[in-house]
Symmetry: D2
Subunit: 267 residues, 4 copies
């Protein structure tokens, strides 16, 4: 029998945390080892997410959770402000962090990498665990070598505060690295309704659609004489990220140092 | 045998004019009766468009063309500045005008209506002869009664000067007539890249994509809890307007007065 | 203050029943009056669906539920076999049935209509409460008058047993009523892989895609020279039907007799 | 000044041949050196395609065309039956063949490779010169490693004789090479309309839509829990292949031996 990976979940009562708890319970090669949740009190993690009793009671801090027994990996989708301290606490205890967050500084990432190597363990920081979204970004960047004329259209729920989305900006960055200089469109173009041509990024445009009922969708459209190419990713559900998190938990057991970006652990 | 409709074509050497000449030659119940083209010289209209010799030689003015023999209907896709004079010249001669143009004033349309009725003939002015585009607009307006959250995304060639497109503005107007007041989106929304949320029209947004290889496309997307509805029209070719022009030529023989808008002669 | 509508839910522990209970609790002008569930025991309906205590305890039969206090409307998404008896029981008690089911015979519908009229109350039987799906079907039928060349592509989850979907067949029927005779495609067409051209229905084709992660989607594509028109409806969630059910509950209070088809109560 | 590449066009009066002639005339680094067309008589190639007089008169055979002066590359979109003999005639004369055809046997390709190497020149045989279609196929194959549940939907004009399309079968082959064994769908699935589930290929399905106005489109749809990925290529026009042909003409000058498949000369 393969040894099971003992997984702790930080922020387990949050929207992502709950999905992680469910996934850890469901995956045969994972064992839920500990879970932290600031304000729920000491309830059972399984019951809390609508699963059978798990035997793991929420601790009020991550440190407490990690000290409650042996842990191999901690999955952390907490708010950016606490993620760094969580990661230090984990690595210090020999626990591999799998972190879903943006906003860590390069210096912080470097320091976490140093700490990981010191302890001889792996770690992962990823702004995005969606395999589909990552493929979309990679394909879009690759296509832009041959089809430099493109626009990005992204769709999110109508209560989202910021536009354009983080994923669309990341996509635009990846495209810009390979596409070369090109300012698309007619230089004499005029907007009779301001903003209709979308947001300008490095020669091309990003359009942000906000509608109720949408979770997260993005389409990159390439146009050339006589043809068009479209790459579209639709996310319907937070749970769609979990297969990526599961891959990360397994992978982080196999290397040393902190890796940034899920794409670097895909085969 | 049904009597054939004798059709004259104004501006027959222009991009739309050429398509009209081809269509008139191809339709069994139409007869090419006359054609005008300012600067081609007296060449044969059929040969000019890559068809067999038609026996109709280009006149340099529309008046000359209309006086060259009996004509039932004249199709005119000339520039807006000359369209009104063309229409007066036609109606005066008892010829029904089918006009593809925007920009006529309400007073001009009223006067043409008066002239048509005086002569007991019909006429049509239509900014759009695309049956598919008109259905898209009608369906979008109807859907907005039930799904008030929507955005419009329109695609045109990358050399188009104005944004958003005339069709998208027309669609937005039709929607606004039935949708009621609603300002979509989060009131605290912020654009980190200016313009990314598109052009604001009466509570919703219009996005204009410009890419090479695109002729004219538009999608209206409706979002609601748990579902979305999309209505999309793609135009690949100027020739796609011709079935609508043919319908108009036949219809204009059957009524009196000037009608504005192709949708009003659809069954 | 408007009087509230007192709503009972049949089969309240089923997948659709649970959504109905949630909706009834959430809508301000509805009051949850009773609920039946065969095998849950006498638990609180609110608690059961993850809402606050509702004060309504599940009855084990619908009759019992309807006799527990005054009820205006009963919503029933039970299996077809019991729906008819449920409806008779409801109407007999002066309760208006809103039924989400297929499979009732014309004779049964006629009899229920007679009973409704006898009692002076309304009733609704609808195979589909999705406003978006109904609009899609109506638009598709209307478009087929102008664009007789079309194909239907429908998408459902990969464990669905039957193909094509009920909605796609209903769409095909509605289209056939207005489209006239036309056998599309090349008469000498050959399939090198059997079935690749899809299912044949009255001159056109239906394609059924089955993939994990899909709930219910359908696209009707129309093709003509130089243009295409697409009407697409995507359903992500059972809860997307609830706005339609809420409309039905309100409407059924306003007429007499049994109506078949949600489209007939849309404005 | 860069030396121009002298290009001959075989079958220059055919639909693809005409596009090739136009492209060769338009590209600054190409020179139209010769052209063959069986049945046009000795007319000027430029005039024939609607361009200015080119000074190149159609020869009635390719051999005659190749012997009329120095030629670097011959582009050949002739029917499969004559392509092999054309290629031998070209290579023997030291002219690099760029061939757009399917149907050559492995032995023929091997022999042409041997001849090319003997003469120290390059050659290319490609069933598809559409860069967009090739990217779509490559992306689809790559995505199927992570998303093994997929279906292919391809769209062509309604007079196409065979289904599914060559491109969709090629895509299915490429996917099958990396996807591993998986029979999708519910094993107890039933078709109430035969063929609605599409054509079966190695565990997944191909759907062929045939509509007027469509040139060539294909979409590969991947489904997984909570997400979907779509890769779509739309071809509107034969001329959309010409950028790929131009790339091939330049590339074939730079290597020795016969290469099969445009993807192998993409960077």
């Amino acid at each position: 029998m393969t040894k099971q990976i003992r997984v702790a979940v930080a922020g387990a009562s949050g929207r992502m945390g709950r999905e992680v708890v469910k996934m850890v319970i469901d995956e045969a090669d994972f064992e839920l080892a500990a879970a932290s949740a600031r304000s729920t009190g000491p309830v059972d993690a399984g019951t809390f997410v609508g699963k059978p009793v798990s035997g793991v009671t929420f601790s009020s801090t991550l440190e407490e959770a990690l000290d409650s027994g042996p842990v191999d990996v901690v999955v952390d989708f907490s708010v950016p402000q606490v993620v760094y301290d969580h990661a230090v606490a984990a690595i210090t205890r020999g626990v591999r962090p799998v972190i879903g967050a943006t906003g860590l500084s390069p210096e912080q990432i470097e320091e976490l990498d140093r700490l990981c190597k010191e302890r001889g363990i792996g770690g992962l920081i990823a702004p995005n665990f969606s395999i589909g979204a990552i493929l979309m970004m990679q394909f879009a960047a690759q296509a832009s070598k041959y089809f430099p004329h493109l626009e990005i259209i992204e769709y999110h729920g109508d209560q989202k505060l910021d536009a354009p989305s983080g994923t669309s900006i990341k996509t635009a960055e990846l495209i810009s690295q390979v596409r070369g200089e090109l300012r698309q469109g007619n230089p004499d173009e005029e907007e009779t309704i301001e903003g209709s041509r979308g947001g300008y990024y490095n020669g091309f445009r990003i359009h942000s659609v906000r509608l109720p009922g949408v979770f997260a969708q993005q389409e990159v459209v390439f146009g050339a004489f006589g043809q068009s190419l479209k790459i579209r990713h639709d996310s319907y559900d937070r749970a769609g990220y979990m297969p990526g998190v599961a891959v990360a938990v397994r992978k982080v057991m196999t290397y040393e140092g902190m890796i940034y970006g899920f794409e670097h652990i895909m085969d």
